[in-house]
Subunit: 251 residues, 2 copies
Amino acid sequence: MSTNDSETHPPFAVTVDLAVFTIRDGAFSVLLVERGVEPYAGSWALPGGFVEPDEDAEAAAWRELHEETGVERFGRHGGHLEQLRTYSAPGRDPRMRVVSVAHVAFAPDLPEPHPGSDAAGARWWAVDDLLVRTTDPEGEVAADVPRLAFDHAEILRDAVERIRAKLEYTTLALEFVAEPFTLPELRRVYTAVWGTAPDLGNFRRKVLGTDDFVVPTETHGTPSEAGGRRALLYRRGAAASISPPMLRATG
Amino acid sequence: MSTNDSETHPPFAVTVDLAVFTIRDGAFSVLLVERGVEPYAGSWALPGGFVEPDEDAEAAAWRELHEETGVERFGRHGGHLEQLRTYSAPGRDPRMRVVSVAHVAFAPDLPEPHPGSDAAGARWWAVDDLLVRTTDPEGEVAADVPRLAFDHAEILRDAVERIRAKLEYTTLALEFVAEPFTLPELRRVYTAVWGTAPDLGNFRRKVLGTDDFVVPTETHGTPSEAGGRRALLYRRGAAASISPPMLRATG
DNA sequence: TCAATAGTGTCTTTGAGACACTATCGC
DNA sequence: GCGATAGTGTCTCAAAGACACTATTGA
């Protein structure tokens, strides 16, 4: 906090940007909106918006999340949202000086998004495809995979790395499954986010051996369409951290 | 990034606040400034200031760090600075709407600070004392230990937790020692930050067994005033992470 | 009975925790 | 020699990695 007089300093616009993740058909996916207005009209970007005078950045992020996805903050399990970091490069928005407080959010079973008032479209994209396109503009992905507007490719990269890391030492994976869930479902979260499947036996040992990570029910789920044994159903436990962490395969 | 027209949205002031840490006389310490102007004149606060039009938040943080401590960004080992998180509660500054991008910085052997132009004073404080005073206003610390202005107690708490956690899985402790250094010196960093001393033998095994954490020299240091064997001197290695992590004692 | 998935058991290896022991310094 | 600090060795135990094996379902 400076002691200078504020009158001598220029105003900034403050926005929030959201990287909203879910698992769709086994793929780690993120929500993008197609911009309807300049700049970058027609480009795809992370959803976001301006912070209002009476709210902090987190409240603005929840509001935007609701507007884009219908996720409610309260009521049953409303997903998880946390601040990522703030992006403030002077030229990051061509219109004016904008500082953006980026957030990461995720929830299971998010509905198909409906575009906000200024967006031309909104849909889920596979994170891996977007990262390939970002890293290598001619990468081996479908031709319609877009590059991102503004500095959103950087934000997406940071968000993905945050989530991959937090799966190791927190119970964040629980936020990606709807209750009740099976252990194979939970394991598929790790598989989708990390890109590699944890060993089945070792995964069960770790999850069941971590106090209050998951809570068993008495009932079993239904097999997938491919058939097979019915898995036991669980609910989320109260544990927040995993110690020692569940490490990604050292491949 | 919103697609709304920016003209309809109110301006914010954007500042950076800094939690600058070092180890002084074996104590994990943070730099505070005594405010010379309202609000909170006479109170102690984290150093900081307004972000200028032509710089991003990180550049503003380096500039303020230099102004308060004389630490240069370039040249020899100029310390480490990273973004912590952004604080944006509507009432956090009584004058106006201010969003602050907080940063964490540290370096070994920082000089005595000289107060900036609007500060009445500047000095190092033991982190533990400040945290006790924050948690328990009548805690068992010296009577002159202050409470912090604005929401800086919260920022300090978050910063300390970040550093304690990062010592576990990164080589961040190296930023607190001047080259060349001895392993006992490096161990004292962990002891000061965590408040507990890692076992001497296990600490050496971990540090020397982590590839490129430290690089041995051929020379030995001088014993402390209490005497004893001379320790071998090392330099910082290129490794950035420690895997598996060096865990805090489970006390 | 077969394919597919869920779940169990166990051998091996890695590495942390604890702590005893040795080495080198100033005095 | 002694006290103090630096450094080594080693026993034990917790837990991860790898992988073989069994169980339960639908077709």
